[in-house]
Amino acid sequence: MNTAAAHPVAPEEIMAFFDGELSAADAQAVAVHLDGCSACASLAAQFRGLSQSLAGWSVSPVSQKLEEAVNNFADKAVVKSEGRIPYAPFRFSIWNWRLWAFGGMSAVAGVLLLVCIVFLRIYYEDRPAQKPMAMAQLSRNNGEVAAGYPPPQPAKSQMYNSLAVPSRMTTRAPGGGGASTGAGFGVIGGMVGDLSGKTVAPMIARAASLTITVKDLTAARVSLDTMLARHHGYSAQLTVESAAHAPRSLTASLRIPASDLSNAIGDLKTLGRVEKESQSGEDVSQQHADLAERLKTARVTEERFRGILQQRTGNISDVLEVEESIARVRGEIESMEAEQTGLEHRVDFATVDLQINEEFKEEINSPLASFSPRLHNAFVAGYRNAAETVVGIFLFLVEYGLSILIWIAIVVFPTIFIWRRYEKARSTM
């Protein structure tokens, strides 16, 4: 079967002829060729001989046991379902790869679930202690005392002792005579009252937010400064943004005397078109009272320590310990005083968050004018990104490379080993 010229019939066609896979015409052509070609006839004889050899590979008859098993199953299936045979249940075998896959996934899911449960437990262990505090803070913000969630500070009645109430908490009722003494406070409906029935004005920290659109931001800025001077306020923070191809904007946090807040807001609204406005007030009376009480207690403690230091004698270590305690209490007192001052400042000066946006009209500019520097910047950024990527990969490999190699040794090599054994075993079957 060397060339197509010598043998117009391909060897595979002779095989197909032998297998009866050719059409009648092709079979006729091959038969004619076989009559005249000894080489091809020899090939056909080879196929025939091979088939005869294989025919010697006989198989023993089917056992009676197999016949009975299949017939029993068929009987049951036909009798039970009248020809509609249901699927049989899953057959358990530890060598079923699906079982292993399912088991593996279940194990992973179980571990994840366990991790979640442990995480949630750890997370919620901290929550119960925070919840009452949060609720108490919320109730203070609403100016009410929430039932069932008492404030966490101990000795509530002592905290409302009027000795610690600052001047702002004094009674405004006629005949109150300034600071009340020896009476506890209750906070109801935003008013602070003592147990003797007198009421005090609440301490409200007011805040407002305004978003205004103006035609000229520069003019608005000048007007804003004038307005602040007129109302004796000041700007705690001010930012002006003037990005290219974007509207200019001013963001400021203003402090305005609380008594003049309404007038100031009215003036601010004249700057331009008001887009958004909101106002709020936070009752910090109780917070202030708590702070004052803690401050008072700390001062008393400090005085006691000082008395001990002056009157008692002892060894050096005792003296040093008392001095350390005095220093610690003094630090706490200063911290609380600063907090108290800040709280009072919040009440005295309302906070106005102001945002002024300028009406924006985009100008037609040729992008080519700025193309060169942008291209340069893009190249620089691209180079930096590429360098950072390379450095990042290098650092990652330095940091985790060894761990990755260890994991490869632990996971990948055994997997490859098992897979090769699996493939080898399959190839022999």
Binding site: L54, S60, V62, A425
Partner: protein
């Protein structure tokens, strides 16, 4: 020995009905139809497994499993293809599953079953030589050769079963026959059956 090579579907008489008709009848509840199908195919299907699996008991088990699969799936049977092809497709799937399980088992337990049981000891030496020679063929070519020589499937049926084009089936079959011819023509090193017995003893 009932190992004759013949097409089961072709041997039936005209009034027995085709395999496909019998299967449809069985799916409608005819127990006799299944008896006839089982009679026709029990030996060919057992031979199919027996020539591919070293252990006769396993071959019987796989045969039983295949017929049970046919019974289970009978309600969904559609006579769109020859029943013979359908049956051998089931057989191939079950054989593949068996081989996967055996290979998976061999990963942990050592040598696969095929090595532990080299041949049916006591069989003729010719049979053992054939089994050994066929076992040395490429896996796909061996499958094509066996389907053609023993199950007597056409090239198109083999292509359908193995998801191969007919031309590929033909060329692979040609190569398999050439290779097998070469293997059978090569002189055996010693008495194969005796060697198998020595292996079994060791």
């Amino acid at each position: 020995m009932d190992g004759t090579i013949r097409k089961p579907g072709a041997a039936k008489s005209a009034d027995e009905g085709s395999d496909e008709e019998l299967m449809v009848a069985f799916s409608r509840g005819s127990r006799d139809a299944f008896d006839e199908l089982f009679l026709r195919y029990k030996q060919p299907l057992f031979g199919f497994f027996r020539r591919r699996v070293a252990d006769a008991a396993q071959a019987e088990e796989l045969t039983q499993e295949s017929f049970i699969a046919v019974i289970r799936a009978s309600s969904r049977y559609q006579p769109s293809a020859l029943f013979r092809t359908y049956l051998y497709a089931i057989g191939l799937k079950i054989l593949g599953a068996h081989r996967r399980k055996a290979a998976f088992r061999a990963c942990f337990t050592g040598t696969p079953d095929a090595y532990r049981e080299p041949a049916a000891l006591g069989d003729l030496e010719t049979e053992y030589s054939l089994r050994q020679a066929v076992g040395k063929l490429d896996r796909l070519e061996r499958e094509i050769l066996l389907l053609r020589e023993f199950e007597q499937l056409s090239y198109a049926e083999i292509g359908e079963l193995l998801h191969l084009p007919v031309n590929t089936v033909r060329s692979r079959l040609f190569r398999a026959r050439q290779a097998l011819h070469g293997l059978l023509a090569a002189p055996a090193p010693s008495s194969s059956v005796e060697q198998a017995r020595i292996e079994e003893r060791s």
